[in-house]
Amino acid sequence: MKRNILVYIGVIILGIYFLFPLYILVLLAFNSPKYTILKLYPSLLLQAPTLNNLITALQGTAFIDPFIKSLETATLVGLITIALAVPAGYGLSRIPRAIAYPILVLLLVTNMMPGIVIGIPIAVDFIKLGLYETVEGLALAQTLITLPLASFIMQGTFSAIPSDLENQARIDGANLFHRLFSVLIPLAAPGIVAAFLISWMFSWDEFTYAILLMPFHSTLPVTIYIDVTRGNLLAGIAFSLVFTIPVIVLSFALQKYLKGEYLAGGLKG
């Protein structure tokens, strides 16, 4: 009994710890500014709930432009990632583990290289190539973050499809592309959707490449940073809240794929 009480004390403390910052974000977004940013000791209660903060901030192009940039970039990142990860995942699932494993590790190692190290030479090269400050350029760079995890997911998905099904189609005379598009991809659809959405979400969140490669008319994270550091606080808060909603929805929908096993995937072996 005493042990149980200890567990519940732990549960309550952890619950408060993990929820507190989110609660503060809600207070900042929905409390009247005179109880939040204008007060020396801001109130911990929702004293004067209002929608004015959000309405004022979200009107006009200040919000729409970066919002569309983020939307375009994230969607393009999802598409590029799928185009690379679906064939790669299929190929990896069909070669011996001893060869597939080092390739997966190679993909994972790229995730360990700092964005700020990779991003600077890319920025210089992009200026020459005309890709600086473009959605296409940013999406190409951000795919670095999404490709390793997406390849793991696709490799796992294709490995789970019995090779008998594919062999049957092969005997029936279907060539590789036929097999891929009429047998394998429909069966792998849930994994593909998950890989797309995770890539979309990672890009939506991405900051380092965005600020290096698209510093002027950028995506939402960079806009939020600029707003907050230049004192445009209410806009920064409102954007943060709107920006967060799709991510929270997606991360709960995709819980299954964001487990430790997947994230630690290649290293566990």
């Binding site: 299929y90 190679l106 490709l147 907050v228 967060t244």
Partner: protein
């Protein structure tokens, strides 16, 4: 046999685009960065950027980066161990807690940083509201660099503990229950069981989370940039500052970048040796 070779070849052909992409967009720029940092635009090999970068407090930035990395890793491991130990048992409300614990994963780093900026504001911050109400205190969170780094460590740990907890939880669920029964029969209490059964069996998982998170800690960028700017600088914020002020001339920033890469490689080496692989 021939058929098998054809199959292997097609598989490699399908993997090739992803590998080429990674080589072009990750390996080539990294090598380019290192190469250009040692090259004077007018002559060949030179250390001119490295001589110059030390006038920008790169030593301080290195020390600060190490403080943040060690502090954040320690805090994340401790909290994640508590979370995983609680979530590995059965109790009423387990589902609710495991959902709440995942929330920070769904919050973008930038949003977390903005929120913590408002929590750790010296005048008009929520942390001071609590401290003032309870103890009549008003803390200046940025009075010295250690305090500033502490706010970075706290904020970063909130955001990244869930991933560590998930990895450790999957490790804990793989420990055979018999080990605990045997230890209990031998008279080991819960604390001894934790230190003699749980921790040794988690070794590999702790190693994995240390590598995954440790490298990300060295790369930590958006959070300190928003919370403390570059007062005091970390390696990443110093590199960004040099990049921004000298762009499109990037030699200085790349010298910083090369130092960062060196630290990451050393760190990975140390963790690999320690976790015994």
């Amino acid at each position: 046999m021939g058929d098998k070779n054809v199959k292997l070849n097609t598989s490699f052909f399908l993997i090739l685009p992803a590998v080429i992409y990674v080589l072009a967009f990750a390996f080539y720029p990294t090598i380019e960065a290192i190469y250009l940092s040692f090259k004077n635009p007018h002559s060949g090999f030179s250390l001119v950027y490295y001589n110059e970068i030390f006038s920008f407090d790169v030593t301080g930035a290195i020390i600060n980066t190490i403080i943040v990395t060690v502090g954040a890793l320690a805090l994340q491991l401790i909290i994640a161990l508590i979370v995983a130990s609680i979530l590995s048992r059965e109790f009423f409300g387990k589902r609710a807690l495991s959902t709440i614990v995942l929330i920070p994963m769904g919050i973008a780093t930038v949003v977390a940083a903005v929120t913590f900026k408002f929590i750790f504001e010296t005048s008009g911050g929520y942390a001071n509201t609590i401290l003032h109400t309870l103890f009549g205190l008003n803390v200046n969170w940025y009075q010295n660099s250690l305090m500033s780094l502490f706010t970075v460590i706290l904020s970063d740990s909130w955001k990244n503990t869930p991933i560590v907890a998930l990895i450790l939880l999957s490790g804990m669920s793989a420990i055979p229950k018999e080990l605990y029964y045997a230890a209990a029969i031998d008279g080991a209490g819960p604390i001894r069981r934790f230190f003699y059964v749980t921790l040794p069996n988690l070794r590999r998982f702790i190693g994995i989370s240390l590598i995954l998170r440790g490298v990300q800690e060295f790369n930590i960028f958006a959070l300190p940039l928003i919370l403390i700017g570059d007062h005091p600088p970390l390696l990443t914020t110093l590199i960004y500052n040099l990049y921004q002020t000298t762009f499109p001339e990037v030699g200085l920033a790349l010298a910083g970048a090369t130092i960062l890469v060196a630290f990451i490689l050393v760190f990975i080496g140390i963790v690999l040796i320690l976790s015994g692989r």
